[in-house]
Amino acid sequence: MPSIQMRLSVNGHRHELELDIRVSLLDCLREHLALTGTKKGCDQGACGACTVLLDGERVNSCLVLAAQCADAEITTIEGIGGAMREAFVRHDALQCGYCTPGQICSAVAMLAEYEAGVPSAVGAPSLTDAEIRERLAGNLCRCGAYNGIVAAVREVAG
């Protein structure tokens, strides 16, 4: 299988890579850049554990090829700071911790989407709990920490 020489910018750091063109962004982060904070739960876009920000928008990194990201800026959990992480810990919004980085990346991007007026199926006039739940529904948590996650996101949203 052909490989590709490419540059990838992750959390503000530029990396020179030679990659098999089949490598997903997720596997590139985990296997080639040792950024294991991004998790693989299903590898088919169904669980959200691999959520990262691609030019500021949340994507399932298992559904993106690394080769598609040459000119993009990637932000992973390792590049996302304080407030949301701290709120997750305070509200016990995690148990096993495996979905947590994806939940946090998703929540950060979701708040930005909401601010930008991106609509949702709920369509509430303010960021209600129902809005948060709907907008984060793509991030599964099998430990069932959903109540804590909503509380953490609500707190950060202010």
């Binding site: 998790k39 980085p101 793509g138 948590c141 069932g144």
Partner: protein, 760 residues
Amino acid sequence: MTLAARGFALATKALTRLARLLPDGRPDHLAHHRTELGRPVDRLDGPAKAAGAVRYTAERHLPGLAHAVVVGSTISRGHVTEIHIPEAPGVLLVMTHHNAPAMKRTPAYASIQGPLGAAAMSLPVLNTDEIFWYGQPIAVVVAESPEQAGYAASLIRADYRELPAALSMAGRKPFTPAHAVLEEPVVRRGNTRTAQAAIRVDAEYTTPLEYHNAMEPHATVAHWEGDRLTVHDTSQYPYGVKEMLARKFSVPEGKVRVLAPFIGGGFGGKTCAWPHVSLAVAAARLAGRPVKLVLSRADTFTMTGGRAPTRSRLSLGADATGRLTALEHHALSSCSADEFAEAAVLASRHLYACPNLHSAQQVVRLDRIQNAFLRGPGVAPGSFAVESAMDELAWRLGIDPLELRLRNEPERDPAGGGRFTSRHLREAYTLGADAFGWSRRPPAPRTLREGRQLVGYGMAAAINPDAVLIAGIKLRLSADGTVTVRSSTNELGAGTSTAQSQATADRLGLPLGRVRFEQGDSDVARTRIPGASAATTTLASAIWSARDNLVRELLTLVRGTGSPLAGQPFDEVETRDGGLHGPGGGESYERILARAGRESVEVEGRSALPYQTVKRGTYSYGAHFCEVRVDEDTGEVRVTRWVGVFDGGRVVNPKQAASQMRGGIVMGIGMALTEEALLDERTGMIVNRGLADYHVPTHADVPDIDVRFIDRPDPQTPLGAKGIGELGIVGVAAAVANAVHHATGIRVRSLPITPDKLVI
């Protein structure tokens, strides 16, 4: 009943008779006097987890690491006659039954041949051409990269000589197993046939094959250095996996080390070692390189087991006042060639006072992968049956379902006749009913509505056996007065490391900040806590014993010195305020070590034998109350309100404990409404092998869940605590089904409650 089963049953009966001679549990003063215990401490590994800094199994990178992908069979029973392996780039080797190293057969877990074994199945895999289930590994591709391994695996085809497979529970001959995981398979008291009953309920309830679907898929990284083997594994039972691998590969146990500090959720699915664990080890030996094998999400449905489907025939008889006169529960589940029976009969045996009881667990053998423990094994599906039947009985009697339960609350264990160590279910019912507003519920079904939404209230009881298992720990006190506890257990999200740090702090009289808890190394001590909600009390017991050993060791150190502790008797010395204190004065830990010129003191601790759980009924309890809304047009059920009140003894960490209970309830909502692995009984294939098709609850499916605890100590358990990890899910599906009946008038006796069952 087989001869082995008969022998086991006789031994159990003899043990039960002798049980009353056993001593009671040792009262633990930490059940009452606590500083760190009982505090809602933020989980100590939370910041690292939230930062993505915790390393899970598949994130172990070793020099020269090769990547493995497993190919599964596409038939359920028969023989592989030929395997076609086309050339593919990057492939180091393809391991099949032709070239796989010999792996000795080891007994399957929870079987009487190897009750404490870690192997999921005793069947040979890749050491034979024989196929026992659909998806059984027939080849392992090892390649330089995961992409190359995956591509090469996709090219492999096999020819088979197919044999007829047993895939449906219907029409198979059931048999009585030797035991039903800690329960006798058959219990009879009184005579259910001659019992008088004014009102009867007699119905069948079924639950489907379900899967754990922990967010982290199973993974193994195996590394041989000569005959030394190091394995990183997603295991809930590292010590058991170490034993198993030593036997399978004929190496001394001392040469095998299994590491599993953090697991991305287990729920019982990582309790035992599924065949891929040994295959990763075998592939690493064959490749002469470290090998990483990660199951795909689809693989986890065919290469690991799920919760056995169950069928329960429940017959209840009651007098006109609602007192139970007869209770029969005949439960059936499935297993593989290895015997494995969960006790779906557990809840109906221990929840309600009833003079005439007949309860029997049976199983059928199928050509499937073995079933696994799944949160509340047996008791969660079985409680759906008995708690639905109690609701049906309440309707027939015209008695409120809560009142019916209060009228049948037992003073002694209905099945064994023994006393309970503690039981505060009555308080849980009352507190839950108040918090929920149960008294506002109109008795008749289909009376509450909001627009096109039918509204219903339901409730159910929860029960789970409290087990104290086997653990050893090592405790090191350092010269700076800090303490490190090491254990062979792991952190799978339950909060064990935080809870045990709190327990250690109070046991030694130290602030939490001076305690470290490390876990997940098989080599620390023999530890058998593969599940059973037993980590909290078992480890607390081991730490308690280590504390006693530490005190003895420190008193030896001060002997003959000027320390005020010198010569003070062990029994009168307390561990508090950062040191040892007796009637003749005390000293800090730092001072004792400094005088002795010691950098550290290390002691071991072992959990005590849990006589109290044999002698008496030791259970944790709960009461669920919920509100559902059912769309009249589509039959879609939404859970909109939940109150759960639990008796788990003293609560070690209310924040973590509440999360545990919520997690169980969330999983129970999935069990009630959406979760079902669809097995094609013609081929043995599971059709919905993925999270897009097997639906677990999402954010949008879960309301605010109000969790409360009775928080009264059990007088006989370490810390006064009782296991709660599995309690939350028990009774949830019945509470939902009962609420759906209240909303719609439709009784659904077959899980999950999908819209098609409600649209007429």
